[in-house]
């Protein structure tokens, strides 16, 4: 029965479109589960770092807390302030989600667990990552609120500055693997992980990724003490929840790319590939959460100087050295 249904669907859509559709549906489900778990993890880790317990009363270990929050946000009033330019205002929380879903197409969960192994996989993730900034700018601009606009402007400046070291560090890995396809890059790490060959690039990537996902100490776009809530100041209810969902999904994407580029992807002994992949991803995310609740926020000029004056020159130097060494050793 299932086989017959699958075969007829396969005949109608063709194998490529069918895998894409099924994969994206699974990704959509995974995004929700991942966000629910990560928000719980964040609040729990934050609690323990601050000598508190964190959510505890709703469900065992407070596990149902984020489900409850999600249902509550669904049932809240959706406010559209009178002076917003509403097509952009409504579109922005949806558009912020698009790059997340696109990136899921190429993430290598395992040797077989990947929707499509494109030969431009790395480029695809970073190219669509830029779209998220556009959505944030749209939201901040359309809100017709000075805090939202300031937050959006800061977000654009920060993302432009930190995408460059991110790409430079990824390029060093691509040079070593000789391919932009994620499977090829993971294959090239069969012996030694790239984090040992490219420690500088790995560090640059992790710093840049933290800034790309707008998380502390780089959470200037939503600095609460200066900008109320940044670009999503005017968003209420489910629209705000979508921004939240996108932020945590972005964390997952960024950590997955880091795992594939530097930490051997799905490779590991004993357990099957996807388990290793998820384990590495969530360990990296735990690190990011740890950093958020440990370090204070940077000032805006410090943030920009850090990228343009230090990260980018270091990234370029690392890339040149990698290229020269590869030229003379291969």
């Amino acid at each position: 029965m299932m086989q017959a249904a699958w075969n007829s669907l396969n005949a109608f859509f063709g194998p490529v479109a069918l895998t894409l559709m099924v994969g994206l549906l699974l990704a959509l489900g995974w995004v929700q589960v991942n966000a629910l778990f990560l928000v719980w993890l964040e609040r729990k880790v934050a609690g323990h770092i601050q000598l508190r317990i964190g959510p505890k009363e709703v469900g065992p270990f407070g596990l149902l807390q984020t489900v409850v929050d999600g249902v509550k946000l669904l049932a809240k009033e959706l406010i559209t302030p009178s002076a917003v330019s509403w097509p952009l205002f409504v579109l922005s929380p949806v558009l912020v989600f698009a790059p997340v879903l696109v990136a899921f197409v190429v993430i290598p969960f395992g040797e077989e667990f990947q929707i499509r192994d494109l030969n431009v996989g790395v480029m695809l993730v970073f190219a669509f990552g830029g779209l998220g900034v556009l959505a944030i700018l749209m939201g901040g601009w359309a809100s017709n609120n000075k805090y939202a606009l300031l937050g959006a402007i800061r977000s654009v400046a920060q993302n432009v500055a930190y995408e460059i070291p991110l790409l430079l560090s990824a390029m060093a890995v691509v040079l070593m693997a000789g391919s932009l396809s994620f499977q090829k890059i993971v294959e090239a790490q069969a012996g030694v992980w790239f984090v040992f060959y490219q420690p500088v690039a790995a560090l640059l990537y992790l710093v840049g990724a933290t800034a790309e996902t707008n998380r502390a100490p780089f959470d200037i776009p939503e600095a609460e003490s200066e900008l109320v809530a940044g670009f999503h100041t005017e968003y209420s209810g489910m629209r705000f929840a979508l921004f939240f969902l996108a932020e945590y999904s972005n964390m997952f994407i960024v950590a997955s790319v880091a795992t594939a580029l530097f930490f051997g992807g799905w490779r590991g002994p004993f357990l099957p590939g996807p388990w290793w992949f998820l384990l590495k991803v969530y360990l990296l995310i735990f690190g990011v959460i740890w950093v958020r609740w440990t370090f204070p926020r940077l000032r805006f000029d410090q943030l920009m100087n850090f990228s343009w004056k230090y990260l980018i020159p270091i990234g370029v130097a690392n890339l040149v050295v990698t290229a020269v060494v590869l030229k003379f050793t291969r």
Binding site: G47, Q65, V68, D69, Y235, S236, F240
Partner: protein, 180 residues
């Protein structure tokens, strides 16, 4: 004076309302908003030792658009009153107000004949749901206020099946009513 909940629905879905009440009760996000010294106790309630986040009420949202509860923590001066009302009106619909401390309840020590600068209590300008007395109230008192608000949303806690502990034994017949 702002009126809350003017429109009554024609059809009431009892089970859904119980469920939503329980959900809302366990996810009361307060607004980051303090007017005077009571705000210090409010911060203490969110920090370690007291930890309001255990009950899901520790997500202090900076924007009124994303918060559910307004904790009026402190003295409302006449100049501030308009802003407080604006903030309340900016919150999305199922919203509640906790008046924390004697100033927010009735003007506190600043309320005397002939004074011209202080609003005599938050309930002069907002529909207050829970009053937490004290000058300032201790963080435990604020937590009790939040739990009281949870009980209001869940029929004295009877439909609050999500929360893992019950606060009090069932009140004996005829005893009922508010406990504050």
């Amino acid at each position: 004076m702002v009126e809350a909940a003017l429109v009554q629905p024609r059809v009431k879905l009892v089970l859904l309302e119980d469920l939503l009440g329980a959900v809302r009760a366990n996810s009361l996000w307060p607004m980051t908003f303090g007017l005077a010294c009571c705000a210090i106790e409010m911060m203490a309630a969110g920090a370690s030792r007291f930890d309001l986040d255990r009950f899901g009420a520790g997500v202090f949202r900076p924007s009124p658009r994303q918060s559910d509860v307004m904790i009026v923590a402190g003295t409302i001066s006449r100049k501030m009153a308009a802003t407080v009302v604006t903030l309340y009106e900016q919150m999305p619909a199922p919203k509640w107000v906790i008046a924390m401390g004697n100033c927010a309840i009735g003007g506190g020590p600043f309320s005397y004949p002939g004074q011209y600068a202080i609003v005599n209590g938050a309930d002069k300008i907002l529909p207050v749901d829970v009053y937490v007395p004290g000058c300032p109230p201790r963080p435990e008192a604020l937590i009790q206020g939040v739990l009281e608000l949870q009980d209001r949303l869940t029929k004295q806690g009877r439909t609050n099946l999500l929360r893992r502990f019950g606060r009090f034994p069932e009140p004996a017949a005829g005893e009922g009513g508010s406990r504050v």
